[in-house]
Symmetry: C2
Subunit: 326 residues, 2 copies
DNA sequence: ATGAAAGCGCTAACAG
DNA sequence: CTGTTAGCGCTTTCAT
């Protein structure tokens, strides 16, 4: 099955056109500050095209000392339509700058991120939540030039905004005691905590008591117990960490012979199809994740060029979608 | 944010130990057929460790003519727990052979797969469904040594097995007229067709009429129309392409004031959490996707070594999980 | 405006 | 058993 065919090299192109490899390199990378006659330029491009020339990435990386690979680290927790579209937005924005995005899905038996970073010689390593100092250091050690976001980037603002939107919607509907449904999963905790904080801020701003936090696993029993807990506390509406968790709450209600929104209103995050199709359809917070992807891309680009970058929540990226679960 | 620190090279390690780079290369790759004294070996390893040496992947790829990168192409359609765990199984099995898996998520504005392949200098490119001849060719052109699966690999058997399991379950429960719910999405079609074929085979084997195929989009209205269609045809049970589609059917039933399993039994594929938590909980077909991942890994490894590989459905990888929607 | 030449860090014959 | 010697394909000063 393996193919042998000798690669077409830049020397082949140079020879075909009758110029030096240097010239070929200059036009192919359209290096600024060089003045190559349009005619030469055209002929080089044409020959490259005709011969099916592809720059050899490893050689280029070796010589130039940097690759055009950007690595995005994901874990199974972070999945669904939102992430898909963040990735699309990011990939598109990076592609426009000639950078290539690849993904690493962390998990069971998977390689450590720094190893992957080194293996693909990534120039930048990205995540959907801040890397702690130790991880960043390991990533730099592995050859990354840029690691994003770090703990000093206030990506957390994004998450707080989500919580705030959920709670404000509920408060506007007249709910006076809010609950929060968190999954009992370590990986989700950093994000869950920020979202919860946002909920808390909205409650405080409205003069309400802090949210009643309960853990709900992705099964009906666990959710049913939480439902009982909230009702006992006089909670009439709950913000869920995600649509998945929210659907679990819905299942918990069903198990108790109750239903949203009358017995307990519930709002999720993500706008995933199965939640939109739940009984009842779930109110949720959606991201303009393409925009978020583009923003991340901008930050990477700036950092890669050694400029200062900014990464801050923009409320316009979020949108509460009311449906019948509230 | 950018780091400068000169890389530690194999020459540094060699110098530290007082041997040549060759020796270092040999012990680090523990090259077979070389007899390096345990003592030397140990000292090299120790020095490498101490200096924090990491082989430079591009240099290695350039010199050796091949990388240890395997690229898996995914598109947004294929997502969820199953894929996650295929990826984990695959990554783990590859890691054991010192290969690194990275993902490419195709979609809107994303780079063409061959470009990504070239950018990471992948030795092998994998997909979850067969690549057509043109794509394979482009991938080889882009430098891949192995492309898997191709149209000659009977990966389709896996999908037919899924459909067969769904239908047999329904038939065993006494259903005499089966429906099939397919999403109206081009990307899903190849797989949907195979699964449907499996359903058809089970029906034929039981002496039943072929399944009544209806398209259902991921929204209640569309599903409600399909539900009406099936009931009119005397269909009492439907196999859905996926859990997502199955949840839509459930929503369609709800919209009509009907419910599974009495008015229409429904079975999905994937075993995703939100479907398990649906009303009613969804019967589904789950994969042992870790196993599938390992199998794919074996095939890659064999192909990479130029050996013949086999890729065939193993019924033990699938399991029907009965719940109350049937 | 273009070319010559010197590497980037590593592997792999081939000697010794 | 280990070292010497060539490159792998590309970028990039520095001359011309």
């Amino acid at each position: 099955m393996a193919k042998a065919a000798r690669r077409v090299t830049s020397a082949d192109v140079a020879r075909a056109v009758g110029v030096s490899r240097t010239t070929v390199s200059f036009v192919l990378n359209d290096r600024p500050g060089q003045s190559i006659p349009e005619e030469t330029r055209r002929r080089v491009l044409e020959a490259a095209q005709r011969l099916g020339y592809r720059p050899h990435a490893p050689a280029r990386a070796l010589a130039a000392g940097r690759s055009d690979i950007v690595l995005l680290s994901l874990h199974s927790m972070t999945q669904g339509p939102t992430v898909t579209s963040v990735v699309e937005g990011l990939a598109a924005a990076l592609a426009a700058r000639r950078l290539t995005l690849v993904l690493h899905l962390g998990g069971e038996g998977t390689r450590p991120l720094p190893d992957v970073c080194a293996a693909v010689a990534a120039s930048a390593v990205l995540g959907l939540e801040p890397f702690d100092a130790a991880t960043s250091a390991a990533l730099y050690e592995a050859g990354a030039d840029v690691v994003l976001p770090t703990e000093t980037d206030s990506l957390a603002d994004y998450q707080r905004e989500v919580g705030r939107l959920q709670a404000e919607h509920l408060i506007a509907r007249g709910h006076g005691r809010i609950g929060y449904a968190t999954p009992g999963i370590a990986l989700a905790e950093p994000i869950a905590n920020e979202r919860l904080r946002g909920v808390g801020q909205a409650c405080a701003a409205a003069g309400l008591a802090p949210p009643v936090v309960l853990t709900v696993d992705l099964e009906a029993d666990s959710a049913a117990r939480a439902v009982a807990g909230w009702r006992q506390e006089g909670v009439s509406a709950v913000c869920a960490y995600s649509d998945e968790v929210a659907v679990a709450v819905l299942a918990g209600l069903r198990e108790r012979g109750l239903a949203a929104p009358d017995d307990l209103a519930v709002v999720g995050v993500e706008d995933m199809p199965t939640a939109r199709l739940a009984g009842p359809p779930l109110t949720t917070v959606a991201f303009d994740s393409h925009a978020l992807g583009r923003e991340l891309a901008d930050a990477v680009l700036e950092a890669l060029e050694g400029r200062r970058y900014g990464l801050a929540a923009d409320a316009r990226h979020f949108r509460l979608i009311p449906r019948s679960s509230t």
